[in-house]
Structure formats: structure tokens, C-alpha cells
């Protein structure tokens, strides 16, 4: 068989081996590379912390002995929806800014990837909550997020109000102290006026005295502030 006899097999095996090694190494590399990429994407820190409300709801839902009554599950689902409202607001607010930053190259690609994963997750989460709500009561799914958003708002209002009202005792205390200070100063001033009308006269004639001797200036400086403060007091005491 002439063609096979004429072939030098050893010489031919070299290019084949070359091709095999080349393709083989490229495949191995691309496999490894892709796996590592996927691993890093998965290992990126999640955008949001663990969803505590969701965990509570699902734990209660799966509790068998004793079974958790429906009313509690509804309350837990409402809490879960409220937390979802917070999250969706965060995602919406962050999106615009993040897009701009990404275009300018101010933030890395992995941040964007994390964000997109969070967005997808929150969509899933919303769908899940609506389904659960519909399972409890027909059409609750259409209103649960309205209720939840009002709940979030209401909680915010009460928090702010409590914060402001908490300053009331301190303010009151400050004003009481200040008022007694003012009135005592005012009384002192009255007494002083009675005792030595000349001294106060000298003090109130401040601008004229300023050009006088050093002695005068010292008196003026000592008397000045109290007299001024006293004047302010007089107004307040009248009210």
C-alpha cells in the first residue's frame, strides 16, 4: 500500500501533537477563566444586608408545631413589604447616580454588577410578596404595597416628631435657668441703682468716659456688660 508506506509517521505526529497541545491548553485556560469569573461575580458582597423581615416571615411560615396563626403571618408579611419599600426606594435613588458615575469611570464595574444583582433580587422579592399576599386574601396583592408605603411614612413621621419633642425638656430647662439669671441680674441692677445712682450714671455715660482717664475706662468696662444685659432683661421681664 504505497501511500501509507511513503508516510513518515513520526514526522507527521509532530504537527498533530502541536495542534493538540495548543487547542487543549486554550480550552483548559478558557474553562478555568470562566469559572473564576463566575466565582468572583458570585462572591461580590451583596448590595443589601440579610433580609431579616423575610427570614422572620419564612421561619414563621414553615413552623409546624404549633402552627402559627394567619394573623401573625399577615403582620409579618406587612413588615416584610415595608422593608421592601425601603429597599426599592434605595435602589431607585441609587440608580441614576450610579449610572452617571459608571459613565465617568468613577466607580468600578463590580459595583455595577452588584447593583444589577440587587435590582433583580428586589424584583423577585416584590413578586413573591404579591403572590403571598394574594394567597392570604384575594386582591390583597394590589394594596399591600400601598399600605406598606404608608406604614413606612408613618413610622418616619413619628420618629421625627419624637426626636423634636425630646428636645423640649432641655430647652425648657435652659430657658428656666436663663430666666432666673435674667431676673436676678435685673434685681441686682435695680439695687445698685438705688444704692449709687452716680455710679450707674457714669457707666451709662460710656462714650464720654472713654476719652477720660484710665481709671474711668476700667470702671466702664466693669459696668458695661451688666448694664447692657440688664437692659435686655428689662424687656423680657415686661412680657
Amino acid at each position: 500500500m504505497w501511500p501509507f508506506d511513503a508516510v513518515n509517521w513520526l514526522a507527521l505526529s509532530i504537527p498533530f501533537a502541536y495542534l493538540f497541545i495548543l487547542i487543549g491548553s486554550l480550552t483548559v485556560f478558557s474553562n478555568l477563566y470562566r469559572k473564576r469569573q463566575a466565582a468572583t461575580a458570585a462572591s461580590l458582597a451583596p448590595w443589601f444586608p440579610p433580609h431579616l423581615h423575610r427570614n422572620i416571615y419564612l421561619t414563621l411560615l414553615h413552623q409546624e408545631n404549633p402552627k402559627v396563626p394567619d394573623s401573625i403571618l399577615k403582620a409579618a408579611l406587612l413588615r416584610r413589604a415595608t422593608e421592601d419599600i425601603h429597599r426599592i426606594v434605595q435602589v431607585r435613588n441609587a440608580k441614576q447616580a450610579l449610572q452617571v458615575l459608571l459613565q465617568r469611570g468613577s466607580v468600578g464595574d463590580d459595583l455595577w454588577q452588584r447593583f444589577q444583582r440587587a435590582e433583580k433580587e428586589i424584583e423577585e422579592e416584590l413578586r413573591d410578596v404579591v403572590n403571598e399576599a394574594n394567597a392570604f386574601a384575594p386582591n390583597w396583592g394590589t394594596t399591600i404595597f400601598q399600605s406598606a408605603s404608608e406604614m413606612a411614612q408613618n413610622a418616619h413621621i413619628r420618629e421625627r416628631l419624637a426626636e423634636i419633642q425630646a428636645t423640649a425638656p432641655a430647652e425648657k430647662e435652659w430657658w428656666e435657668k436663663r430666666r432666673t439669671e435674667i431676673s436676678s441680674n435685673f434685681m441686682k441692677e435695680l439695687d445698685e441703682e438705688k444704692k449709687s445712682p452716680t455710679a450707674t450714671e457714669a457707666a451709662s455715660g460710656k462714650p464720654a468716659a472713654k476719652t477720660g482717664s484710665d481709671d474711668d475706662a476700667v470702671i466702664v468696662e466693669a459696668g458695661g456688660p451688666t448694664v447692657n444685659a440688664g437692659k435686655g432683661k428689662k424687656k423680657k421681664a415686661k412680657h
Partner: protein, 200 residues
């Protein structure tokens, strides 16, 4: 967050009598506070009188509470006109508590509106008793609840600060107020007064 198919099992248990949820073992702070909120929500949810036991949609509002609040406000106003300021303050405080006690799923805009008006009235009652500090705090809260269209609230805190001699703060406050209510005569007048006092 975990993937959609999994969740973290938490050590929870239910009290068979009170139906309250508690955590077993050592629980984190966040979990205990959350469970408290959940239990309060559960109790308020039990009083809902819809057929399904779910909170009704935000609108329409249950008119009973609104009526009670406006009645309390009316009696507060009546006391105020009779110069019975302490009892007016009491009436307004009751009304405020009532308004804040609305179930959490009722419209928050309504709560803002009511509470802002009531706080503003209470501030006025405090001011009539020359309790400037309380008046200032109430007026600030009122403005926080409703910034636009609340010229009286702005003016009242400005006036209180002015009376307490905190001219710098009063000036800043009134300026802020004028950004919302540029044409309000009272505010403009107060601004003039503050400037006059500062110039002295």
C-alpha cells in the same frame, strides 16, 4: 440577601396564650426589636374589621377617628378663646395623641396635616402662657410636619426665639420661613423687629 429559594431559619417560638412571637436563646438586638414591632403590629391588625383580616387600602379613611380629633380640636379652640390656656394645651395634646394613634396603614399625609395644625395651635397656647421654650419646640415640630402653607408655624417659632433673646437663631429661622412664605406680612414684620433689636 439570600437567593430567592433559600432563607435563614431563625430561632423563633410562639407563646400559645398571647400569640406573641419571641426569640429563643440569645437573639441579636435587631431581631428582638423587630419582633416587638411585629407583635405590636399584630395586635393592631387584630382590631381591623375587614372580612379578610388584612388592612384596608389607605383610602377611604375611617371617619370615626377624624371626627374625634376635630371635636377635641374644637374644644381646645373654645378653651383658648376663654383664655383657659392650660386646659387648651391639654385638649390639643389629647388630639395630637389621637392623631398619632391612627393605625399605621392610614394615609401619612393626613396625619401630617392634622398634627401640624394641632401642634401649631398648641404652640400658640404655650405662647399665650409665655412658655416660650415649649412653644418654640411645638412650632418647630409643626413646621417639620408641613413646611409649605404653614406661615403661622414659622412665625410662632421665630417669635418664641425672639422672645427668648436668641436673635441669631430667630433670624436664620425667619429667613428660612420667608423662602417658603415670601409674602407673609407677619414674618416680614418679625424680621424687621429682629433686625431692629440686633442693631441696638
Amino acid at each position: 440577601m439570600e437567593s430567592p429559594d433559600t432563607f435563614t431559619l431563625l430561632p423563633l417560638q410562639i407563646d400559645p396564650q398571647t400569640k406573641a412571637i419571641t426569640a429563643t436563646g440569645t437573639a441579636s438586638n435587631a431581631l428582638t426589636t423587630e419582633l416587638q414591632i411585629l407583635n405590636t403590629l399584630h395586635r393592631s391588625l387584630l382590631s381591623v374589621d375587614t372580612a379578610t383580616g388584612t388592612p384596608p387600602p389607605p383610602v377611604p379613611v375611617n371617619p370615626k377617628r377624624s371626627a374625634a380629633i376635630s371635636k377635641l380640636r374644637e374644644s381646645g379652640n373654645a378653651e383658648f378663646r376663654k383664655h383657659q390656656y392650660p386646659s387648651a394645651v391639654r385638649m390639643y395634646s389629647l388630639a395630637i395623641d389621637m392623631a398619632l394613634g391612627r393605625p399605621a396603614w392610614e394615609p401619612s399625609g393626613l396625619v401630617r396635616e392634622e398634627v401640624s395644625g394641632l401642634l401649631s395651635n398648641r404652640a400658640q397656647a404655650h405662647m399665650s402662657m409665655q412658655n416660650w421654650a415649649e412653644g418654640a419646640v411645638d412650632a418647630e415640630a409643626s413646621v417639620e410636619m408641613k413646611k409649605v402653607g404653614n406661615a403661622k408655624g414659622w412665625w410662632r417659632r421665630g417669635k418664641c426665639l425672639f422672645e427668648m433673646g436668641r436673635l441669631e437663631e430667630a433670624e436664620v429661622w425667619v429667613k428660612q420661613g420667608l423662602e417658603f412664605e415670601a409674602t407673609e406680612q407677619d414674618l416680614l414684620q418679625l424680621k424687621g423687629e429682629i433686625e431692629k433689636r440686633k442693631g441696638k
